[in-house]
């Protein structure tokens, strides 16, 4: 009986897993395709959300502190502040970690046949930009301002109006793509 329940539970989980895996983006490998490099987007994308996370967490801890301060005398206000603080704390916490988990899986993949940019959010957004070397005529690396020059990140732009932003070392990556295309 116990074994039957376990097997049913496992069956349900495996079916659920299969359903989600079917929904996920699966880039298809071309014949004779070889991986040349995989790189992450630049870390600058984490700066503003991290700042926001610290500020909102600080605010929620302050609300909890005020709740404790009001606790003995004005219980209603204390409870309201406590629930507000806890809600803000949990919302901020989960938003930040969902952002981190999703962004850590954003990759720029270069193979001997194409460039693939995968960018996903947990559950609701799946984005894959793919540029084949057959369609690509030129590749350009842009650093728009002094900030991007100092931190060494920028945008890769391909001929059929495709842009990949927040690329670390865009110049080096553009050279690597040109090599793969046989342009140099």
């Amino acid at each position: 009986m116990h074994e039957q329940q376990t097997s049913n539970g496992t069956f349900f989980l495996s079916k659920l897993d299969q359903y989600w895996v079917k929904r996920a983006i699966k880039p298809v490998v071309m014949p004779n395709e070889r991986l040349l490099s995989v790189s992450h987007e630049h870390w600058i994308k984490y700066v503003f959300p991290s700042f926001l996370y610290v500020a909102l967490t600080g605010t929620s801890l302050l609300l909890l502190y005020f709740a404790a301060l009001f606790a003995p005398s004005v219980l209603g206000v204390a409870l309201f502040l406590f629930i507000l603080g806890v809600t803000l704390l949990f919302v901020t916490h989960h938003w930040f970690f969902w952002f981190l988990l999703a962004e850590s899986q954003a990759h720029i993949i270069i193979t001997n046949k194409r460039v693939i940019h995968i960018h996903e959010s947990l559950l609701w957004r799946e984005e894959m930009v793919e540029v084949s070397f057959e369609k690509m005529k030129t590749v350009e690396a842009h650093k728009r301002n002094i900030f991007q020059s100092v931190l060494n990140y920028g945008t890769l732009q391909f001929e059929p109006m495709v842009k990949i932003r927040l690329v670390s070392h865009p110049g080096a990556l553009a050279r690597q793509i040109e090599q793969a295309m046989g342009m140099i």
Partner: protein, 90 residues
Amino acid sequence: MTALFATPGMALASTVVIVLELLSVVILCVGLLSYRIILQSHHGFHISLHHAGKRARWGSFGLLAWLYIVSTVFLIALTSMIFVWQPRFF
């Protein structure tokens, strides 16, 4: 320390806190499941390409996911303790 279910107000607040904490666990599980699926999808593509290609670094389930689990459990424990013990600063 005010008893958690002594008055209607406290009972309501206790219920809200418990619901928030349970919801937090559910969001954690959904997030981890979704993250695992993204990893599996990327890993499958990587394996297909890797046989003749250069070795590449991909994100691993390790540190971030564990940090998420530990920090969520810590926050749940912290908020529960504050709510149950109701510390008074002055």
